[in-house]
Amino acid sequence: MPLRGGKELRISHVGLRGVVGAGLTAGHALDFASAFGAFLGPGGPVVVGRDPRSSGAMLREGVIAALLACGHDVISLGVVSTPVIQHVIRRLGAAGGISIGASHNAAEWNALKFFGPRGVYLSTAEAGELLDIYHLRKFDFVPHDQLGKLRHEDAALDWYLDELAAVYDFEPLKRFKVVVDCCNGTSSPILKRLNERFGFDILRINERVEGVAFAHEPSTTARMVALQLAPLIQPLQADAGFLFDVDSDRVALATDEGAPVSEEIVLPMLADYLLPRGAGKRVIANLSSTALLEEVAGWHGGKVVRVPVGRQAAMDALASFRPEQIAVAGEGTGAVMMPQFRFIYDGIASMLAILSMMAERKQKLSEIVAGYPRYSILKGEVPLVSQRIPALLTELRARYAEGQLNLVDGLRVDFPGRWFHVRVSQTEPLVRIICEQRGDPPRALYAELLEQVRSYS
């Protein structure tokens, strides 16, 4: 039984997301794109791209119609990754952009993400304004002779690769034999082009860009890495394996020994790589990400800024620092932003950073991973009615008062060597429990928490 409304459609500051047909419809695409057209104000082209889901074609048509009706020219990129869209917005000085794609969700889902000038996600305040226009349904349609014009841009992929090539030294990276599970998503054409244009040695699996049936659940988790990618590494004598979600903003990995690595490791690894390289000493991470981050940051005199879970909180936190103060930002899901890439969640850029790390340190990926102390994380979720959540959190707060409490997003409690986070999902009617310990898994604490949360269900 759904415990909150809107299980198949979620409209929030993050944009809109839903199961196409049952929740997300053509009308939503038109309404939201019209609201975005009004939000941006008159003039200026808008960049539109989508991931390969079949429903993306339908939503794109609606988005294009609405933007043209608001007087915005539209630059259509076809099927591309979200980072490519963000780069094109900046390159062309566009007014903004819309990415149509449901990232790591199953094929029947889709979503719209909105970007302002320079390809940045909308701030919470801007997203709130967009929502207000959407709800008011007061759009600024222009007369017939002022409608926008549509054009297609095929060079986007190469522009994106140019930018990557400007940041990374590709030369030493070409030596690595890399296997990638594209999960039938937008990473596939990008990696193909990396091979063709720069001579990378990347072998792709699940490389067919697919609209309906993905080879497996498109989430960047160690479980998915273990499914098809990890077993291939040793037989192929590859140096590393990477798994991308459908819109290529997240990444997970397998070592040269064929071991799937927890998705939690990507952010600490990149912090370890980037902290000593620049002036930025701050790492922005959400409350649910591993405590390994604090340990790694400590090695390099860095400091972790913990923010609520969700892209919006990360974007707002970023906005309160100068870019050069930040070393890296991201989530434990494998979505990482680097200042070199203007804080765009970008799995491909993360992969290149990890390969660069291997090249510069002259270390195998398995050796790098083995260099980090072991942390064990346990995650679970319990469906819960909204009314009971405050009581639950109050009880937990009292019970674990001896720990260090953080109430910014649900409840996070830190103890020496372990911590837990109990929070309400933004996308589903669930309470999530995340529990981590240095060394072995915190099974007793996890069981105790699970029992307490369940007593409220």
Binding site: G21, A26, G27, L30, S55, A57, A65, E108, H144, V212
Partner: protein, 451 residues
Amino acid sequence: MPREHLLKIGVSGIRGVVGEFLTPHLTCGFAQAFGTYVGAGRVVVGRDTRPSGQMLQHAVACGLLATGCEVVYVGILPTPTIQVYVGATRARGGIAITASHNPPEYNALKLFNGRGLFFNHYERSELLDLYHQSDFRQAANEEIRGIVFDLETAPGLHFERILKHVDAERIRQRRFRVGLDAVNGAGSLMSCQFLEQVLGCRLHAISVDPGRPFPRVAEPRPDTLGDLSELVRRENCEIGFAQDPDGDRLGVADETGRVLDNDDVLALVVDAALERLPGPVVVNLSTSAAIEEVAAAHGCRVYRTPVGEANVVEMMEAVNAVIGGEGANGGIIFPPVQLCRDSYTGMAFLLDRMARTGLSISELAARLPRYWRRQGQFRYEHGRLGPLMQALEDEFAGAVLDRTEGLKVLLKDGWIHVRASNTEPVVRVAVEARSEAGVAEWYGRVARLVA
């Protein structure tokens, strides 16, 4: 202008001024209703050259895809060509994005069934109900299909059908000097191809740039075709053709540059068609009585319907008509090509007639029964139509009355038809008589009552 005429959603479909009135939302919703009505399958989408066509095309595609239809996009094409293509490719249906002869700020959807025909009145009512109920089929991701493009094949299919009914070789041999004004509409490229390459004419064309705005009033009438008259005279053309933006209506100028009454054009084509194959004729109530005379000469019967292509087509299907059309607004409907208004069939028939008889177009027109006609329009106001009709009945007491649409007063040697427009906030008056004085007198009496 009254707000309700800037947007019209009804049994005829959806039409309005693009911007605040005809929005992508309404258009997409109508396409969703259409997709739900015809069912998941291929739906053909094309458009005329209006600047709003591109925006609406994406809104239509969005709505169709959302219901699980596959979109076959045929680009900028005349409406009759789209209709031929729908029927020939056995699609589920078709949508032409065009406001036909309306001014450029308007746009509309013309909706066709799997045979490329307008839906009948009952089907259109069902579709409208479906739209209002908003109970659309919502396709899930695995049911959503894509957009395919076929920008090439449709004109050939259309030409092929027409050429079965004229002696193309004889037309080509004549190397007719032809003037063309395509109003920069959907026929701009295709009409040049048809007249020059298919029918071997020496073509002098104006307003055949689909990227430019309409250079004249979109409706091809004697009072709007000054440029064509001038072109015909300047280039010594034997005939001049004018189209509306979606290429379904035809205007004709003779070799002197005089623009023929559209009723006479229809009468010429009806005569040509009946000579080949006698049978029932269908025209609207505002069409000239010359049609009855022409048909009678071939021993054929004429049926009358309310004004509007869909009405004429519906009756033509019901009585298995061999030819039909709408006089005043320049529509020629020849079912063997396609049961729709088609300027291309009209052009081919007239050239064929000239080639066969060796007569000029003015000589052909001169042989038609001679009538004088006058059309006019007056401001429409709610609540005035009823009293106006009463007054007309009193004014022409004793005349035979036809109340099928508005009021048609049948007089000795003539008639008067007064009705409210379906598309604009006006009352339309049409008068026909055997003499110039007769028309002037009747029109004057009606005008005094209406004004």
